[in-house]
Amino acid sequence: MASNSKRAVALVLTAMMAASALAGCGGSSSGSTASTGGGATTASTDTSTDASASADAVDLDSEEIQKQIKDAIAQEAEATGGKISMKLWCSGDDLQFEKTLIKEFKDKYADSRYEINIQATGAIGEDSAGGKIIESPKDGADVFNFADDQLSSLVEAKAVAKVADLFNANVIKNNTADSVEVCSKDGTPYAFPKTSDNGYFLYYDKTVFSEDDIASFDKMIAKAKENNKSVFYSLGNGWYNTAFFFTAGCTVEYKDGKQTATYNTPEGLSAAKAMCHLAESVDNGFVGTAGSSGENATVQQGFADGKFAAAVIGTWMGPAIKTAIGEDNVGAAKLPTVLMDGEEKQLHSFGGYKIIGVNAFSKYPTTAQALAYYLSTGDKENNTQLKRYETRGLIPTNNTALENEKVKDDPALKAIDAQRPYAHPQGSSVGGKYWASNIGGFGGEIVTAKGKISDSDLETKLKNLVTQMEG
C-alpha cells in the first residue's frame, strides 16, 4: 500500500532524526526540511517556513475528503485502542452552546472504527486559556478558545499547532481578511477565527443621552451628572486604558518577543493627563474602576441599580444591559472623544478576536484540527458562527454569516465597525510582559487620586511601566 510505505519512510526518517538529536550532534543540522518526494507526507523540524497559504481551498464537505479525514482520525485512534478522548476549553458562558456543536461534530464524523469523546469545560476562560496551555501543555485542552493577544506567546512557547493547509485554505476562503491575519504569526497560520468582538465600544442608555451627547466624554459625564447617573470606563484595567496611549500616538508594538511601549515620552504624558482629566469627575458622573469584582459584574450591577447610564464594554455584556434597561433603550456607538492636549480626540481602542487553537501536544492532532475547524466554520448545512451569533450574540468573522440580514443590522456590529478605524490589533501590539506590568494599577492610582497627580509623578510611574514592559 502506497500510504503505508510512505508512513514507513517517514517513521525511519523520524527515528534517524531522533537518534541524531539524542546523540547531541544536532548542533550543525540547521532546521533542514526533509521531504519524501511523494509530497503528501513530509517530515520536518518544528516550524517549517512554507506557509502555503496559496494552496487551493479543497471542498471539505466532499465525500472523498470526508473519507480521508475519517481515515486519519481512525489512524490516530489506533494508538489508544479506537477511543479518542479530548478536552475543549471554552468560555463558561458559551459552554452549553459549544456542547451542542460538539454533538454535531461527533455525528458528522461518526465511524465504526473509533469512538470520539470530547469533554468541554468552562473552567478555563478565554482570557486565561493561552497562559494555562503554556504553563503545562500536556495538561492543557486539545482544542481551546482564547483571545488573539495570547497567540504570540503560545507560538513562542511552541505550544500551539500549525493549522494544516487543508483547513487553512478553507479558513482563508470563508473568513474576513483581518480575522485570518490575526490567526497567523509571521505568515504561518496557528489558529481558527471565531468571533470579531473581543474589543470594546460604548453602550449607552438612549433615554439619557442623545446622539449628540455621545460625541465626547465630557458632554456625556455632564449629562449623566444632571441625571444623577454615571458613565463607566475602567481606567483601572490595562486592556481598557491602553486606548489612551494609542490615542496619544504612542508606539505600542510586540514583535519577535520584544515589547515596545513609548510611554515615557511627551505623548505618554498627554495620555496619562487625559486619563487624569476623566478621573477628576470620579463620584461626579464618572466611575473609573471596577475594584475587585471585575468590569462585567460592575457594569451589570450599575445598570441594574440604575446608577450607570453608559459604559465602555464589549458585546458580552449586551444581554445583561438589555435586561437591565430594556432592549429598546440600549444604544451602541463608537467610543466618544476625549480631551487631550486641549483638543477633543477620538479615543482609540483594542480590537481583538476570539480564536480557536489546537494544542501542539495533542495526541489527536487531526481530530483536534477537524473539531477546531468545525467550531470555527461548520459545514455547508451548519454555519456555526451564524448559530453562535443567534444563540450567544457574538459577532462572526465568517463571510457568509456576515451577509445575514440580522447580523448586518446588529447595533453592536455597527458600533464595532465604526470603531474599527481606531481599533488596534492586540496580537501585534502587546505580549505577555505588557499584561504582567501594572498598567492596570497605574490607571487605578489615577482614579483613586481623582486625577490629582503631578506631572513629574506621572512621568516616574510611566517610566516604571516601560521598564516593566520592555525589561
Binding site: 507526507t41 499547532a161 475587585s292 501536544f361 501594572n438 482614579v447 510611574k461
Partner: protein
Amino acid sequence: MDYLDYVQMTKGQRAAYKIKSFFTGIPGAIGNLFRIIAYYIKKFFVFVGTGIKNYAQRFAQGDIGTKLSFIIMGAGNVFHKQIGKGIIFLATEIAYFYFMAVFGMNYLSKLYSVGVQLDDAGTMADGVIGSQRAITTTNLLGVPTISNRDTLDNSNQVLLYSVLTMIITIAFFAVYIANTKSAFATQQTIKAGKKPIGFIAEMKTFLDERFHVTLLTLPVLLLMLFTVLPIIFTIFMAFTNYDKEHQPPGSLYRWVGFQNFADIFYSNPMKSETFGKILVWTLVWAVFATFTNYIFGIILALLINKKGIKAKGFWRTMFVVTAAVPQFVTLLLMRLLLGTNTGINGMLGTSFPFLDDFMWARVVVIIVNMWVGIPYTMLISSGLLMNIPEDLYESARIDGANAFQQFTKITFPYIFFVTTPYLITTFVGNINNFNVIFFLTGGGPSPSNYYQAGQTDLLVTWLYKLTVNSSDFNLASVIGILVFIICALGSLITFNMSKASKNEEEFS
C-alpha cells in the same frame, strides 16, 4: 542584668523588658544562627570523620564474612547464619543497582547536559537540564504532529527524578553502612560466645525496643516523598531560569547560579524594590495582625467572663460561630461587602475606596483580620481565665488591689506567660497568612512600580502569584527560601528569649 534585677521588676516592666529584648535580640540571633550553622557543620565533619574511621576499623578487624559484606551486602549476615537478614540486605543491593542502571543514571547524567533545546537553529546551550529536539511530522492531510512527543526530555522530570535518585542513593548508603555494622556486630557477638539474634526475634523488637521504627517508618517515608523531595526540588529551581519563557517541555530551562538571588537583592531594580517593600509590609502586617488580635481578644474574653455578666455561653457562641464559618467564605463576602461599588457602598450609595486605596486597604485588611481572629484569641483566653486560681485574686483584694491592678498584676501576666508560645506561632502564622490577603484584596491595589504584586501582598501571596499567575517558578522559589530564613530567624530569637526567662516559673 541578672536574674535578681529581673524578679524585682513589676509585671508591666517585665513585659516591656521582654519586648525590648526581642528587638535587641535580633543581632544576637543572627549571630547565633551562624554559630549554630557552624556547630552543625563541625558536627557533620566529626560525624563523617568518625564514620570513616569506624568503617576502616570494621574492615580491618572483620572476618571473611564481614569483609565480603563490604562488597556483597548481607554476605556477613549469611556467613554468620542470619539468613533472613542477609537476604534482605542483598535484595536491597540488587534492587538499588538495578534501579540505577535502568533509571537513576540516565537522569543524573542529564542533570547538567550540553543539551539541544527545542530550537530551530539547533544552538547548543550550556547547563540545560535535559536534552531534546521535537520532531514534527505531517500526516496525509498535512496536519503536523510531534512524533517523538512521549520521548522528549522534560527539565522538570529530569530534575525531579535526579533528586529522587539522590535521596534513594543516600538511603541506600545508610543501609549499606548498617549492613557492615550488622555484619561486624554479629561477628563480635559470636566471638563473645553468644548466639546471634534470630530473624523472628529481631522482627519482634519492632514491637518493643524498636517500636519507634514501626511507628515512624510510614509517616517519614511519605514525608520524604511528598514534602522533603518537593522542597529540595523547589530549592533547586531557585538556581534555574524556570520562568514563563522557559516552560518545559516546549522550552527547557537551565542552571543560572545565584542570578535570581542577585535579581531580588540588587541587580533587578524592579524586583528588588518590590521585594523590599513587600518584606517591610509583611513584617508590619505580622506585628499588627498578631498584637491587635491578641490584645482585643483578651479584652473581649474579660468582658464576657466578667462577674455578673449573664448568658456567657450565648456571647461566646455568637463569636465562635463567626470563627467557624470557613475563612474563604467570610473573606470573599467581605471583599464584596467592602467593594467600591458594591455591598456597603452599594447600600449607602457611596463609593468609598475601602480596598482600592492602598492606605485604606492596609488598614482594612488589619481590621478584617481582627474580625477573623479575635474570636480565636477570645476562646483561648476564656479557657485560661477560668484556670487562674481564684485565691490569687482573693489575696490581691485583701491587699487592696483594684480591678485594674488585678488585671495588670495577675490576669495579664498569667495569660501572657501561658500564651507566649501561642503568640510566636501566631506571629509566624501571620507572616504566612495567605487567606486574609488573597481572598480579601487579592494583594491589590497594584501600583506601577511593583513586580507582579500589589501593596497589600505579603511574601507568601507574592510567591503564590509568581507561581500561579506569572509562572516565575524560579523567583517564587527564591521567595520561599527567604520566607523560610525569616521564620527560622524569628523562631530562633524567641527561642533564645524563652531560654533567657525560663527561670520565671511562678505559674507553672
